[in-house]
Symmetry: C2
Subunit: 331 residues, 2 copies
């Protein structure tokens, strides 16, 4: 039900996912009437692969997570996560309120043993492909131990979903000052060197986009700023580019001629293709879609859920975490 | 002498600055022979407005700041800062090692009374114009009091150099999680509300580029990551755009036709125009140019030095700091 656009986006996305992924079955969780009518708008109805599970309440996009947790026990978000808990669903995808989703998921599913706090993992495009970055905002202050846990979760996600046996992990830091980085980052580097993670050292912000790493680790404050700053810059560049191509008749003609090129370019950095952040470290798969996602973007979030459920991402963390913390022979 | 390109860039930039700014006199500090020969290459020589001040040593771009401070007492960097200290120069511009420049400047010039640590201020383009952001890497961990000092220094810089009587100041934070921001950021917001700064509240990373603020405040780790991440994304976008326009004969023709538009676009975001970061909070004007700056970029750094020296930026901080810390009637 969630996100800025509600079932008008999530229902067409669900129908597209059913067409795209033959193995998936979907449960639409939310107010039955709204969902039935959204299905009718798409000339669709419930089927063997597509059911509706009624939930009477909604969590507002600006609602305080604590309040959602206490007052909205029959919200679409809560009910969907309950379905994961009971095993009736293998994953939950939501475009709703991030804070409420994280709080509810932690409360209902619990974090995995050995994981202090879940982290938000997202995929960003790079010159060479893409990179997984975490944490993107779940944890404002992180300990070195938590950063190590993030690195392990990121590694496991990439190695399982992308069949990459040894993902390169970088630790986000700054390189300008005499004493590089904070004490926490330096301690985390030490832990990473002594772990079984394929730790490749510090990276600076610009190296997120070079593609030299498969996973980049940082605390949630820094990660969120990096992500949002990137969004802001991309918006500004798009704005300026449009303005310049619309300046006069001549530039408009050139713009029209450039359209196929610009479209190809745009496809490579289209944030919709990277939609679907993973709430990693929970006892179940929960995927957060961007609140403003359109149907295409939301379908990518469903795809991410499908990948993680198929590869049993949470179970893999449980299995491998302990053995990856310390390398043989390390202190 | 400094930067990745040495006098081959700084000398032409200095000559251009002399042509552009009638009021400026420049002292080239560094190895006399190298500077004389760089001048000759430009068919120029010492004059009333352009002198050479010999310094025998160089600080390497990767040299440890502590070592530069101890061992390089006759480096071009150290000698140039000494000239500011003695009043023989009103500002120092360097493209050298940032850590060494900051350490040397702090050691020689000292921080202003009431300023715990200097901060690096840089200008970034926005949709509506530009924004001053600090700190960009001098201080990894900042207290709330230091963030307030940054806000005051940023405000004073913008109000004095840009004749903006009441610069809007935003505090960089994240908005995703239930408990917004760290304790330090929340405390800083409280101090800012009680100060005479025109504090406009929290901003997220994307709002750096919207132009709704004149000054954005953050600690040096976060600021550096935001800046570098932006550089990385801009590089990737440029790379993809080039690739798409070079894909085949047809796209190349379109690219050629688009060139004037793309050039106009590029001018609006050209990082060279924003070169010249201010080391604010010191008892003297010190400007850090990007190490890889070309002559045009370096000239912008000289222009920033000229502006700050003309407006007596350090003196203004000394005068106004105390009175801006707390608003009348505030706790």
């Amino acid at each position: 039900m969630g996100g800025d656009h509600g079932p008008g986006v999530t229902v067409p996305a669900a129908l597209a996912a059913l067409r795209h992924y033959a193995s998936v079955n979907l449960i639409l969780v939310g107010q039955r009437d709204a969902l039935v009518s959204a299905l009718q708008n798409q000339r669709a109805q419930e089927s063997e692969r597509l059911s509706i599970h009624h939930a009477s309440q909604l969590v507002g996009m600006d609602e305080a997570p604590a309040q959602a947790l206490r007052m909205k026990k029959d919200s679409s978000m809560r009910v969907a996560i309950n379905l994961v808990k009971t095993g009736d669903a293998q994953a939950c995808v939501s475009a709703g309120n991030t804070g409420a989703l994280m709080a509810t998921a932690r409360f209902v599913l619990k974090t995995l043993p050995g994981i202090d706090r879940p982290a938000i993992i997202s995929i960003l495009p790079t010159i060479q492909g893409h990179v997984h970055v975490l944490d993107l905002g779940a944890n404002v202050d992180c300990t070195a131990e938590q950063l190590l846990q993030f690195a392990i979760m990121g590694s496991i996600l990439v190695s399982s979903v992308e069949d990459n046996p040894s993902p390169r992990v970088g630790l986000l830091n700054i390189g300008e000052e005499d004493i590089k980085g904070s004490e926490t980052v330096k301690r985390a580097a030490e832990l990473l060197r002594n772990s079984k993670v394929n730790y490749c050292g510090y990276v600076e912000g610009d190296e997120i986009y070079t593609g030299d790493m498969d996973v980049v680790i940082c605390d949630g404050f820094v990660g969120n700023v990096a992500l949002k700053t990137s969004e802001g810059l991309a918006n500004m560049i798009t704005h300026f580019m449009r303005q310049e191509f619309r300046r006069n008749i001549l530039t408009k003609v050139v713009g029209l001629a450039s359209l196929p090129v610009l479209k190809r370019f745009h496809r490579r950095v289209d944030p919709r293709r990277y939609n679907g952040a993973s709430l990693a470290g929970l006892n179940g798969v929960v995927i957060k879609s961007h609140g403003g996602a359109d149907a295409l973007a939301f379908r990518y979030a469903i795809q991410e859920a499908l990948n993680e459920a198929n590869k049993h991402f949470p179970e893999q963390i449980s299995e491998k975490l302990e053995s990856m913390l310390v390398k043989e022979g390390a202190a």
